[in-house]
């Protein structure tokens, strides 16, 4: 009776195996976030299979290590993520469960963006009373064009190391990307001049690198401490800042709750603005170029209102 039951299980497993097909040969790239899927696409080209584990509507701090992601990671040749502990709640579990020896360490197929650029907000003495701060600094590095430029180079080096036979292709893609990116960066710098010195209130430090690039200044945060949701007492203190310093804008991402920003808008002359945090955050943000275009045009438009 037992043996029959076990045999049935074994048989069912065998059938499952036979009916499912093994992975094929193209480079499989697992990106933790859409911005890194977009970067990977620029360098690895259209032929690679690129998968983004999250969308612009998901907070990358709070992703579930769900079964579909385990099987995706099992098949990955390269895993590209923000790093600096942004994905600490789910990436280690996926690495452990995927049994994929190629993506366990940065010596091999794991690429953590924060390892390759200088991070803002690196704190010397960190403790949890400060909130969910990242010891390794702010991990939202993809919103600074200069850092993206150097990430493109580092990621190309990684791809060449992993897939030497297509080295020429990756190098060629890098050259093409870098040329277009450089032209675009100069354009953005020109466009962003009116934004210099503009003070904003934001939700979390999600746009810190963008503000740094644009010369804007984040003077308040809707979160009382990183990772903690807005509270009414904290919002009152933000309201004070907003009134004293004549702030024009409060920005938040597509995965953050709009309530706090809208509350601030209702109480003051502040314009509440939802910016696409990453590729796919709105219809126009289809890649890294259009994402930055969107950021600048939306910020310009909003800051010129009233």
């Amino acid at each position: 009776m037992h043996i029959n039951f076990k045999q049935k299980i074994a048989l069912a497993c065998a059938v499952l195996l036979i009916t499912t097909l093994p992975a094929q040969a193209q480079l499989n790239i697992f990106a933790c976030e859409p911005e890194y899927a977009a970067l990977a696409k620029e360098i690895a080209g259209e032929e690679a299979n690129i998968f983004s584990a999250t969308t612009a509507k998901q907070d990358p701090h709070f992703v579930q290590a769900r079964p579909s992601l385990i099987s995706k990671m099992r098949r990955a040749d390269v895993v590209i993520c923000a790093g600096a502990d942004l994905e600490i709640g789910w990436l280690p579990m996926l690495q452990m469960k995927s049994n994929n020896r190629d993506v366990q360490s940065t010596d091999k197929g794991l690429f953590l963006a924060s390892d390759h650029v200088e991070n803002l907000d690196v704190l010397v003495n960190v403790d949890r009373s400060m909130g969910d701060v990242h010891e390794l600094g702010n991990p939202h590095v993809h919103l600074d064009p200069f850092r993206i430029s150097s990430l493109a180079e580092s990621f190309t080096t990684k791809l060449v190391q992993l897939d030497a036979k297509n080295a020429a292709l990756y190098q060629q893609n890098l050259v093409s990307f870098s040329e277009r990116w450089q032209v675009a960066t100069s354009k953005w710098q020109q466009q962003a001049k009116p934004l210099q010195g503009v003070k904003v209130i934001a939700y979390h430090s999600s746009f810190k690198y963008l503000f740094e690039f644009l010369g804007m200044q984040q003077v308040g945060d809707l979160e009382p401490k990183p990772g903690l949701p807005p509270t009414s007492s904290h919002l009152l203190s933000v309201l004070d800042i907003a009134k004293q310093q004549q702030i024009k804008l409060v920005v938040y991402t597509t995965y953050q709750d709009e309530k706090a920003a809208n509350w601030l808008q209702d109480k003051t002359d502040i314009v509440s603005l939802q910016l696409p945090y990453t590729v796919g955050g709105n219809d126009q943000s289809r890649d890294l170029f259009t994402l930055m275009d969107q950021h600048i045009s939306m910020l310009l438009l909003a800051s010129q209102q009233k």
Binding site: H61, Q64, R101
Partner: protein, 405 residues
């Protein structure tokens, strides 16, 4: 003896904290899980043989499952983890080694091997640490059949299918010396098989299904629970005039569990921060074949110097399940409901089905701190209802580890 164990744990913990300062690869975390419970004394679960671990939360203040965990990659091939748990057993606080295992991270053919002491991966809850649960205690079916959770010394081999769909197969063998297993500890005392699969319906909905088998070869002679050698023969059941009650160690023979589990998680657009809902259920089918040691303890025999001892043939089938739903409705607040019921065959019960209904409300100040208020109505023995109220503080210090789905 117990004190020296605690001292060792503390010294070890401190030593590792110092190592942590030197290298970033070692994760040290502590879970402080303390609380207060108002309840009646535990009376057992029908007449089924269970020990103190199946009681659930202790009356009064408790510090159960407060733990220190240390984990790190050992090299490019191995990962290691050590978990020490503070637990109370019969009024004494003890440090238990709950996990001490190594696992491969780079084996070929999609295989993964684990050896040492660890939680069996059968079912949905068993492989998870109790502090990650959404309720202050384990569901009744886990308490009765798994002694809360089953961990043991052994080895596991698992394989992840090279497919788009997630399919994991695994098998485990254990020494079989911790409840609900009781064998002599020489050789293999329990073995398991499991298959897990899962995927996404769409961006907002994900699911997981599992089917497991675990079999124990039990011998009453070698029974000891959670490494305790104290007398386990004290039965936990109301002693009325019909009192057919069995101790935790009165069974000899084969005990086979077949477990099916299903989990569904929802979050709008897959964004779990603001709102999410988890529905999970597990069903246990248990076969017991062997002998049951029976000590007659009818009222009229209580004062007899030697109780009547005999062994009855046993061929019984039991089943049990729990269903739980937890809704996190803001980043700070979540509420949950759970129901668990067991259907025992004779001789443990003649038609009475033990059941527990639970409701909880929790406040999470941050990702690391949870304060939970829980109410349970426990009907685990006939003609007795226990209303339990618990206030629990569950907090994490140090590296916050990744959680399983």
């Amino acid at each position: 003896m117990k004190l020296s164990k605690i001292t060792t744990a503390v010294v070890l913990g401190l030593a590792v904290v110092q190592v942590h300062a030197a290298t970033d690869d070692i994760n040290v975390s502590a879970i402080i899980n303390v609380g207060y419970t108002e309840r009646e004394d535990f009376q057992g679960i029908a007449g089924y043989g269970v020990d103190d671990h199946a009681a659930g939360l202790k009356n009064g203040f408790w510090t159960d499952h407060t733990e220190i965990a240390i984990s790190a990659p050992i090299d490019d091939m191995f990962f290691g983890k050590l978990t020490m748990v503070l637990d109370e057993h019969e009024g004494e606080t003890e440090v238990e080694l709950e996990e001490a295992f190594i696992q491969t991270t780079a084996m070929p053919y999609d295989l993964s091997f684990r050896a040492g002491r660890f939680l069996s991966n059968v079912g949905y809850l068993n492989g998870k640490h109790a502090h990650t649960d959404s309720f202050a205690d384990r569901p009744l079916v886990y308490r009765a059949f798994m002694n809360g959770h089953y961990y043991d010394d052994g080895a596991r081999l698992s394989w992840l299918a090279p497919t788009d769909a997630y399919i994991e197969l695994g098998t485990e063998v254990f020494k079989g010396a911790t409840m609900p297993a009781y064998s002599d500890g020489d050789g293999i005392g329990s073995h398991s098989l499991f298959v897990k699969t899962g995927g996404d319906f769409d961006e907002s909905h994900s699911w997981q299904l599992g089917a497991s088998y675990i079999g124990f070869k039990n011998d009453e002679e070698f029974c000891s629970s959670h490494d305790h050698s104290e007398d386990e023969h004290e039965p936990h059941a109301l002693e009325d005039e019909h009192g057919e009650v069995f101790g935790a160690c009165d069974f000899s023979g084969d005990k086979d569990y077949y477990i099916v589990d299903a989990t569904w998680k929802w979050a709008p657009n897959g964004n779990y921060k603001y709102q999410n809902f988890t529905l999970s259920a597990e069903y246990f089918f248990v076969e017991e074949k062997g002998e049951l040691h029976h000590e007659d303890d009818h009222e009229e025999h209580v004062n007899v110097f030697e109780d009547e001892h005999h062994h009855d043939e046993l061929d019984a089938e039991h089943s049990g399940y729990y269903v739980s739903g937890v809704y996190q409705f803001t980043p700070n607040w979540a509420a949950g409901l759970r129901y668990s019921e067991i259907d025992f065959e004779e001789p443990y019960s003649d038609g009475f089905k033990p059941a527990v209904s639970t409701a909880m409300l929790e406040y999470r100040h941050s990702h690391f701190s949870t304060v939970r208020l829980q109410y349970s109505q426990e009907k685990s023995v006939e003609d007795f209802t226990d209303d339990q109220i618990t206030l629990q503080f569950n907090m994490a210090l140090g590296a916050h580890g990744a959680h399983q789905f």
